[in-house]
Symmetry: C2
Subunit: 485 residues, 2 copies
């Protein structure tokens, strides 16, 4: 019973926190008089009330949860929290179905950024701000949740984050106390976000658009205030600024922290994930631009390079803006972009997918297998830099990637079963599962996820959640041993 | 130098062997007076000559090859042998390009059964027999090559076959001497083939069609003497007979041998691969038939079940006949069929793909990872039946599957790069890589691979070879260590 009380208590904290976030939109709405005041007032009050009902009666329960309860907590939080977050949308747009609102909010909180709403340009400022705040908060949220909030509540949180392979050797250089680490990462995240807002303003956005798009870029969420996403601005400076900040956001924030602390670029050079990521993305930009130019999509290479770079970077980093309808491009290019979305983002970033560190470990392992095939008796270990990666981590990584792959296969078949065409189904699942955003065809950048049936919306929502919690936390609930004492 | 001489010598044996095979078609052509007599005469003579030139001068070299040389030999044989086998086609059809002929022959020898020829119904009997003989010989060939021919030549062949996971615990029950094993497997293979010929004749085929289709079924090659493949016959008895023999052919031949020797069905019950394979395929037939019925493709469930069963079994077993244009079916069904083609066939069968045993090991490993996630200090090992599978095999299996997956990704991107649409590209690579046969869209069952460009034909040919030698033997050539002393 204690376990349930503890879980309810923590949910209460999170719920009350969301009502605090809603309050900022309420304030915005009141200042802008944008018509969503009542919606936010009701939503804030109701969320606060339910949060308080969960929080106060359970205040005296011990704040220790077991490994099992921790996983349960993650799944419940990720399923329930979005319910409260839908309230402003549902109160403002009574015609919106709960399922669609839930999709939109999960898309925001998982930093997927796939949208089911049309007419974004005409929504009240406060509603758009709400969507972007979900992106921004959630962008750092999953890390904060694991390394700061749970420990503050007296819960041993780090083990929840075990799905994340110990990526950076530099972990030891971070401040030792968990709360301190969290605060440091927050500061870095908020600081870079402020820089991004200023840069976007200087590049020509309004303050409001600059704030929203900076939130979406730093969290790699990819929501926009315009149906045409970044294509609305048709501005090279804006695309350049966003490209740079998306690349920054896809690098491990621990690396940023150390680089800032040491005032040195060395940590970036030493970050194997960042090196591999940047090399892969830059090569891919040049290559895909060449394909676009070869196929006559754009009539000069530099225009092709401009559009290839922005759209490829935004998909590869799992941000998911769009400046062109890349669904019309030769299929090689968007498929390559989606492929990169599976593996590019760094482990300590707000991106999704397999993460670069796992990709590197797997490639090294495959290379090692080939070597062992020639020299069957060799005992060469797997190394990353100077560190020897032990076998337990390697099998854990391959196990993860298998679950990743089989999850995608099952989800794609569910969409195919429902009658969606293959390219739409595959791209929707890859885009949702990697928390990237737009897919192709029926869910391409020129349209959105609104045309999906209820069943398809549920599948895509589940894909976003499963991808965000790195599969394990949800899949593990289906293992009978989980429920045994 | 000795190594090269030994490789040439063995190539000589194989080449002379092929000329012997050609001689049977020459004889058929002479009897049937079908117009391909000259083509086969020239081809047989030329092949014999070149084989003899390779064989006799190198007759005194020691017949021991190292592990490295063994891999090299496999790759060279698989690349060069098809060159000789194209000769009858090229001599008979001077307008056929070498590339297309090479594709057709590689398709035969890898038991892929994808065809680039049209008007099969009007080809000389001997030419069609040649295609089917390639299927049949190759079906057992890769096993014979590894376990019988090489040892007869004094070459330690078994290590070449190491890519194949030790699948059957029953290996110990097979006759101990390698040549004896090979002969026993041959007998089983030939015996079941004869039964299949008789059954097909009784089901209504001509003797010639019965022989050709039995060759294609037992080898899971899937060539047909008709452009419409098995759809030409439109016969339930023929479809039933072929379905049964394809299922038989996709089970480990060691299991067949033991079952026959013991006159017992127990070995099948004990064969975990066979059990998983049959359960998976039967469930899939019922499910896909339901989808076809639901979507109105066929207006009663039993018609749907008939067509779903035949086409699903033939693709899932990597045989690759077709009785309907399943490209017109709701995409869920053919995609599921292609998915099954990746993993259904047993390790000791003539099918391709990952093989069921590896699928099982991987699934058990993923399950184990989830368990370890809950109980991090447990040391539960991976078991198959009573046997504990050691970690070395598990990492080898995951390494293989990663190479399998990444090979498919690279090959698909090559086809996309060349401008093929996504469904054609993906299905072509999966069908070729698993040695299954027909794909979808441009390479679907109603068309064939003739419309591919030269570049695309090369990519698909390479996919068939890479799939047949289970990736390692070719990929390993690109590892620098391979070439070091
Ligand atoms: K995103
Ligand atoms: K085949």
């Amino acid at each position: 019973m204690n376990v349930i009380a503890t879980i309810i208590h923590i949910l209460g904290v999170v719920t009350m926190g969301s009502s605090g976030l809603m309050a900022t939109c309420l304030l915005t709405s009141l200042i802008a008089q944008d018509g969503a005041q009542t919606a936010f007032l009701l939503a804030t009050a109701l969320t606060l009330l339910v949060g308080a009902i969960m929080f106060f009666p359970t205040i005296s329960t011990p704040k220790i949860v077991s490994r099992q309860a921790g996983f349960l907590l993650v799944s419940i939080t990720w399923s329930l929290l979005p319910v409260f977050c839908t309230l402003p949308l549902l109160f403002y747009m009574p015609k919106l179905s709960f399922l669609d609102a839930y999709f939109e909010v999960v898309s925001g909180l998982t930093t997927t950024g796939a949208t089911i709403l049309s007419g974004l340009d005409h929504l009240p400022m406060s509603i758009n701000l709400w969507r972007h705040e979900l992106n921004w908060i959630a962008g750092m949220g999953i890390i904060i949740f694991a390394v700061a909030i749970l420990p503050i509540l007296g819960v041993g949180g780090m083990q929840l984050y075990i799905a994340e392979t110990p990526g950076s050797v530099k972990e030891s250089e971070l401040p030792p106390r968990i709360a301190q680490t969290a605060k440091a990462l927050w500061l870095v995240y908020a600081g870079i976000s402020v820089l991004c807002i200023i840069a976007l303003k200087l590049a020509g956005m309004s303050w409001f658009d600059a704030i929203c798009h900076a939130f979406a870029a730093m969290s790699l969420g990819g929501f926009s205030t315009h149906d045409n996403s970044v294509g609305y601005f048709n501005s090279v400076p804006i695309e350049v600024v966003l490209t740079i900040f998306q690349l920054v956001a896809a690098i491990n924030f621990a690396t940023h922290f150390i680089a800032i602390k040491k005032r040195s670029y060395r940590p970036y050079v030493e970050d194997m994930e960042a090196r591999a990521f940047l090399a892969l993305v830059l090569t891919s930009c040049l290559m895909t631009a060449a394909v676009l130019y070869r196929d006559g999509t754009y009539d000069n290479y530099f225009t092709a390079l401009r559009h290839a770079t922005f759209n490829l970077v935004t998909i590869a980093t799992d941000c998911g803006f769009a400046s062109q309808d890349f669904n019309q491009w030769p299929i090689f290019v968007p498929m390559w972009m989606l492929f990169l979305s599976c593996l590019s983002a760094s482990s300590g970033s707000t991106g999704g997918g397999i993460r670069m560190i796992r990709t590197i470990i797997l490639m090294k392992q495959a290379r090692l297998e080939l070597f062992k095939f020639i020299h069957p008796n060799s005992v060469r270990p797997l190394r990353i830099g100077d560190a020897i990666i032990n076998n337990k981590i390697v099998t854990s990584v391959t196990g993860f990637i298998f679950l990743y792959f089989i999850s995608i296969v099952i989800l794609v078949f569910l969409l195919l079963f429902s009658g969606l065409d293959f390219v739409s189904a595959l791209s929707a699942i890859i885009a949702c599962f990697n928390n990237a955003g737009p897919g192709l065809n029926q869910v391409g950048p020129a349209t959105n996820y609104a045309s999906l049936s209820d069943f398809q919306t549920i599948v895509c929502t589940f894909a976003m959640l499963l991808g965000r919690v790195q599969i394990f936390s949800i899949v593990i609930l289906f293992v009978p041993e989980f429920w045994k004492k």
